[in-house]
Symmetry: C2
Subunit: 339 residues, 2 copies
Amino acid sequence: MAHSTNRRWLLASRPRGMATVANFRLQEEPVRAPQSGEVLCRTVYLSVDPYMRGRMNEGRSYADPAKLDSVMVGGTVSQVIESQSSSFKPGDFVLGYFGWQEYGVSAANHLTKLDLPADLLPAALGALGMPGLTAWYGLLEIGKPEAGQTVVVSGGAGAVGSVVGQIAKIRGCRVLGIAGSDRKTDWLTGSLGFDHASNYKSAADLSTEIGSSCPDGVDIYFDNVGGAVTEAVLPHLNTFGRIVVCGQISGYNLVQPLPATSILPLLLTRRATARGFIVGDHSEFFPRALADLRGWVENGSLKHEETIVEGLENAPTAFLGLFDGSNIGKQLVKVSNPE
Amino acid sequence: MAHSTNRRWLLASRPRGMATVANFRLQEEPVRAPQSGEVLCRTVYLSVDPYMRGRMNEGRSYADPAKLDSVMVGGTVSQVIESQSSSFKPGDFVLGYFGWQEYGVSAANHLTKLDLPADLLPAALGALGMPGLTAWYGLLEIGKPEAGQTVVVSGGAGAVGSVVGQIAKIRGCRVLGIAGSDRKTDWLTGSLGFDHASNYKSAADLSTEIGSSCPDGVDIYFDNVGGAVTEAVLPHLNTFGRIVVCGQISGYNLVQPLPATSILPLLLTRRATARGFIVGDHSEFFPRALADLRGWVENGSLKHEETIVEGLENAPTAFLGLFDGSNIGKQLVKVSNPE
């Protein structure tokens, strides 16, 4: 076999507080040959996502914790190198869950063949993948937007948030995105068609700024970040408002949660709903959602953007960059060139 | 006319922090004669409810604030004295919204004739009235209990909570009620059939006690109180749990909310929902809910209890007692004897 060595990142230690590069260890191992029904793949793109921070902890988040000295989990676009399954042939592109490594062997039935042009392969981990599905389900099935309503999305320039705002525009809503740099807010209003964007790091008074952008109040708050940004949004929530709880990235590296204002009195007086979700619980919606997302990308109403770091060796840096907002759109690691 | 003088309680001043008797003023005025289409009624039972505290504030809660120097609002069971409407005749009992006063004139179409035996008239403001409807809607339509699931209700011995727990038992759930005295917890388990009851004032560690009573976690938390009690319950919430936000009485007299732990991370990791509601938004359910409630009362599976204070002059004291937990079941003021 031509590719005898696999490099992979293991979880070396559990962080206390902010995760660092030292929590990961790069290791080499021989590539194993696929058995009957299995497929050997090479990773082309690796997705790094905020949820992985939860997996690094000992306690249960939504999923069991990642195991120490095991390969870090993660979604990938991979290319088939060797197949012992009639479902795949060498050269096929697949969506898999190979994790932070160059090669992997998987049962064929855990892989999905990708029928996408080469320029859309990265989007299979972004607007046309899990983040896009997350935006679709959270906004449409939990948020239930109606034309003319106001949608605010935090983490607005991220992989999920940037899709949320664009779907909200497609549905005829007024959209405010909140992000952490002028480059991001310019992108949201200049390229993605958001009506307003606020830079929470430079705003003199974020809550006042939100009030000015949303004179009719906020019907849907799609929350990716939590913390102070969320506290600035919530007073503007309308009666019968919906809080879609998709992420709380501002708190993922905290040892102790910060004191907050309870939202229960607000939910009561506004007769509002807050609902947390993870998209994997709702796979019955995926075919419809993917058809919508693909159609919007093809007709130009949904723009997708990926921030791509080169080289598996940079996976920890790319991952940690999510927590200081380095990425615009989906953060990926390019692990190899497709053949 | 035999009854020429009406005594009534006005809102004299807005409280800052804990409401006191000094916020109310007793006034006399002549009784006005009903015009065509109107009915003159005498109050038999006046309902005092926690929501009235919100109306005493200047700011908007769910409804507009009560007006200074106007009669305090409130639901009543009243008896018709004089009718200028073909819909009612003297002696009829009606459900109205006459407020804290002995007599009132109302348009006939704002009144509902009560078809109840005399011993159930107080229940028309409790288990067979707004609190019962609130329990029914919140538990069944928001909580969506399934047999075998665990329901925790705070304010468990109150007008709403005591009905919530009993409906949950009817639906085959395990029920823990939280209340503030041993007399209440004994009533919940001894008379109402709750599986467990915790006295939050005397518990050594309320959260540990809840964990022991709910070994399978909490599927539905019906919250009437908020604050520290709620913080003790929430860590036990199960995946896909539902928080029914019905009241937050622990905070109604606070000038500033106490610092809390944000529930958004919990909603996310547990994929849980928190929803606030007021029952008046859901009147389409009332006929079905009232039929259920009446059926359960008549077949003995739903017990109703009222704490009744005599005399309109004691209305402020009865109302303020809600905030130190004086009442078991529904708190009423008996304003007059039916004729």
